[in-house]
Symmetry: C2
Subunit: 329 residues, 2 copies
Amino acid sequence: MKKIINDPSRVVSETLMGMEKAHPELKYTPELEVISRREKTPGKVGVVSGGGSGHEPAHAGYVGKGMLDAAVAGNMFSSPSPDRIIKGIEEANGGKGVLLVIKNYSGDIMNFEMAKDMAEMDDIEVEAVVVRDDVAVPDSTYSTGRRGIAGTVFVHKIAGAKAETGASLQEVKAAAEKAIANIRSMGMAMTPCTLPAVGKPGFELGENEIEIGMGIHGEPGVERTTVKSAAEVAKILLDKILADYDYAGGEVALLVNGLGGTPLAELYILNNEVQALLDQAGVKVYKTFVGNYMTAIEMAGCSLTLMKLDDELKALLDAPADTPALKVL
Amino acid sequence: MKKIINDPSRVVSETLMGMEKAHPELKYTPELEVISRREKTPGKVGVVSGGGSGHEPAHAGYVGKGMLDAAVAGNMFSSPSPDRIIKGIEEANGGKGVLLVIKNYSGDIMNFEMAKDMAEMDDIEVEAVVVRDDVAVPDSTYSTGRRGIAGTVFVHKIAGAKAETGASLQEVKAAAEKAIANIRSMGMAMTPCTLPAVGKPGFELGENEIEIGMGIHGEPGVERTTVKSAAEVAKILLDKILADYDYAGGEVALLVNGLGGTPLAELYILNNEVQALLDQAGVKVYKTFVGNYMTAIEMAGCSLTLMKLDDELKALLDAPADTPALKVL
């Protein structure tokens, strides 16, 4: 195992410590593994997300003005415990309530819901939304129903921007729900990834083999097949997304996401194909994001995400954001 | 070879096409492989960089307000020809002259100098600076003298910000030269990388082997050794940098750079160690950048860069920038 780490058991805490040192506007709470904004905006709905680590920059990289107020990190690929999530809620709470953005994995649902109940007993108003954007498979290893993957980043952006407008908790939740309803994603993996504490890859892929629809923890996808061209990958993933949701005639935000080990150049090559196919399908791309937004440690591969936009979502997408991993001027 | 590409011979052009489609504010010139700003600022010194492809987001990702006016791409790991560079100069020229920022590789020096001479014959005033930030080895496979690596991104930022102030060509060049004089870098590689046209890794590293001081094209470094902890990597690289330039007592900008295949989390873990060592060494970190800024395709590994700051460099570093790969609000 070749990784730039110290003790595998300290990977999460040292990552977040290193993040706090790079971005002094973020505050790290040790032990509870929460990254939150150092400067609070009073009277604003708080937005909190989180989940297992290994998907960096998600989620701590999206804490900052215009996006999250706090991110709660679990161990690698495993959900944060409720006490950690409660700390995240407390950090994010400005007296106007807190929205939790949860990716649809059973552990996350259970722990975030438990934290929500406990925070409500402390008189913090909490609402939750669940992202289920991955169209690859109906149920998966760690989820009942669709998995939540890279589309979650769009939900952070939309909910965060809505919260900055001074909207109520119900309004922020409604904006997040609208985004979620309009988002579909699907991915493809070319190499496995290695959990530091395990020391060897979680599964194997043959030398000329890729897996279509694989999850961001290596969960099985739709099929294993031979290496495809960028044009073929774009078509396979988009066909499934476009068959699931009618994006034709509308405007979308597009995210061409890398899983950690794929060079940026390849993501741009993929984008070139995706844009051509969307054009053919009568889908207008309003804004494109290309990069490593939701990763699976060092996995080589990609995912595509579309979010259909209306005027409200466009304005919220374009609103300023200042976080380590996503800045909108 | 597992890559998201189509034809290996179209990797560079399709990358830049995909970039133009993602960032409509950028203009792609086909065949000549130039990315430039679509909207020109008249009466501003132009800043141009470029070099072999395979280091994305460098250099096209740094084209935009506050940084480069144009970036010229060569084939993978090979210098752009003079005709391409001349096109870059023409795109960047606003009548006030153009500064070329060249990484110190023999092919780049030759081709950029030739393009400079030819542009001058067309009455465009051109100056050039050469970045030689890599302290690993005195001469290298493709360079006489030190190689230019990730520190080049700081030079883009400083020269670009100075040009935006309306400064003269000589003033922009002087700011770039000051930055260059204050910058030192060094890297470490854990895996090789594969040129798409070759189809197999350019060299081999054993299962538990890393190379200290390796260049961004896989050029030999200082030594091959066993996998080190993040703390050890930080110390080895910083010791060499701090021995070469006296950063003590001053303030610096720090870049913890990934080579393409290393997860962001590991770069933050490395940052945590680097910051502790700099603190011990009496070096104050004014601003930190962590991420994939200058890569070697999908190589796993990292580099560290320090730039000593004075009041002018601080102001230029903090000046707004809006490019695909670096935004300063």
